[in-house]
Symmetry: C2
Subunit: 337 residues, 2 copies
């Protein structure tokens, strides 16, 4: 009997590590926003698509749909979040940021879904399933990142030149095994410049369609979230800024006074010449919001006893620990029951 009991306990422990089934009330995807641009006098292209096909003539002249945005949603049953939860990614990335980690663990999308939040994962305008526009006719040529760029810039390695030697910041939580870093690089996409007004318009269209939401935004997505919230604070129940890479307009900080905000940065910020400037700007912006009567809770993870986080917090080995900190804050704000 004792032996059987021990086996049962062992099975339960193994079972806890294994993900449990999840019931969805509904799920799906859609595109929102966008505008029409008409092109003329462009050359026609002709080609044979493949073996067994027939020649194809593509005339690019006419109306192009530009600036739309893709969103995928999953609504769990039962729901415990009191508002939809949006996950907005950063530059050179797509919604995949939230779906999985480079070492194959579930991402924040699944973390929050399993806690009863209806989650919405988007691809920012011009990236991923949102689709980009013709270059150079509508958008300027995009930029692409080679492998050393995130390694040296996202506080994974020890800065410029560290990719060549694969030198990692001490105690860094990012999965840096060669196969994991390569998995991360597979998620990286091009980024177009000059598209900010399209991106902001599409995020507003998304929130208008879904309704007032909790928005968790990362890096470039954080800067967009602040700028969107200044235009439509009524559409934000709360705003969680994960390492925002920019701010809103300081002169209009008061527009954010009624949106509860959480600001989170990871480790190695002060010693990084670029991230130290970015966080200083973000804290100055937060101070302006607070001076106007708003609430921005500023979390420095190492000071909370959570060291080693790179810029990609939601992919780091302790990603669930950081997500739990966000979850606890949302619950404390009364947004989860």
């Amino acid at each position: 009997m004792v032996k059987w009991g021990a086996a049962l306990v062992a099975a339960c422990i193994a079972g806890a590590a294994q993900a449990q089934p999840i019931t969805l009330e509904r799920f799906g995807s859609f595109h929102v926003g966008g505008r029409q641009v008409e092109l003329s006098d462009r050359p026609v292209r002709e080609y044979l698509p493949t073996v067994g096909s027939a020649p194809l003539r593509i005339d690019p002249n006419g109306v192009h749909m530009v600036g739309q945005m893709y969103a995928r949603f999953m609504v769990p049953a039962p729901q415990r979040g009191t508002a939809p939860l949006m996950l907005w990614h950063g530059a050179y990335l797509t919604g995949v940021t939230w779906e999985t980690t480079p070492d194959g663990r579930p991402g924040w999308d699944e973390f929050f879904l399993r806690r009863g939040w209806a989650t919405y994962v988007t691809d920012a305008v011009e990236r991923g399933r949102s689709g980009a526009a013709m270059v150079p006719d509508i958008y300027a040529p995009p930029l692409h990142l080679p492998a050393q760029n995130p390694w040296e810039r996202f506080r994974i390695g020890t800065g410029a030149g560290s990719y060549a030697t694969r030198q990692v910041l001490p105690g860094n939580q990012f999965p840096t095994a060669p196969e994991h870093y390569e998995a991360f690089m597979r998620q990286v996409v091009a980024r177009y410049l000059g598209t900010d007004s399209d991106v902001i318009a599409a995020y507003i269209a998304l929130l208008e369609r879904v309704g007032p939401s909790v928005v968790i935004a990362h890096s470039q997505g954080g800067a967009f979230a602040w700028q969107v919230a200044q235009r439509r604070p009524d559409l934000f129940r709360a705003l969680v800024l994960i390492e925002p890479a920019g701010t809103g307009a300081v002169a209009e900080a008061a527009k954010l006074k009624d949106v509860p905000q959480l600001l989170v940065y990871g480790d190695y910020v002060d010693q990084d010449p670029r991230w130290s400037v970015i966080r200083r700007n973000a804290r100055a912006f937060a101070a302006a919001i607070q001076a106007a009567g708003g609430t921005v809770e500023d979390v420095d993870l190492p000071s909370r006893g959570i060291p080693g986080n790179s810029h990609m917090l939601m992919m780091d080995r302790n990603s669930d620990q950081v997500a739990a900190l966000v979850q606890d804050w949302l619950a404390a704000k009364g947004l989860w029951r």
Copy 2:
């Protein structure tokens, strides 16, 4: 009592139209495949990303990851399919093809998931979340479709010039209300030429990771599926070709003799100068497979009493009816229990 009974019946009918909750054993996403390309001597670009950020210097020289492919999967509980079910989209599109219809109904992904299939939806290499490579350094400049192109080419309108007048083929099943056609155009993305070997390698990597599968492939995806199956027939439990836009190599048709195949085209094919050629080539390829001892069931939907289908069968108003025909064929082949 009678009144109350009638209300109950009405409620039940309304309830039947409403989707029921669904339980997933697991879900997630990953990237597969890809290769590394090294660039050198390219110019560095510098810009200020946004308000409150710090200047950013992007040096494109170094190793780029190219040719990887994104896949998202959902595994229902209980499972009734005896193999994973893959959904491969066509040219100028992404996996969104299978997720939703332009008029907002559930797509084939949900149709098959609700019947107990573990579904895998991919974005072909260079499209959507798979990410494209630098132009013109690695890939040649892509092509983009203006609004009239699918209308006139996908057997929605009455051919060349029909978009201007919005003339629709009689009895056409595609959702052509202005807001629905615009929703479809939001899903359209660029397509790069010269990437076939990357695409084929990534599909093989996908099947090697997931295991032998049922593959449902549309248009360009159908041509790829035939070409992938000729290289690795061991990885296909069955192959459903929805309006394939090309074929495999006729000389190697015998390689497909052990893969059960279903070939489906919609309406208006014979009267279309391009699709009539494409179907003739597909049927000649099917005949070569059959001559080698293989099985290709050739379905002309109008002959089966299902008229009005455009090239985008999975988005047409009767998309569930066509999906049911595929489901019945898979069940008859013993692939569903």
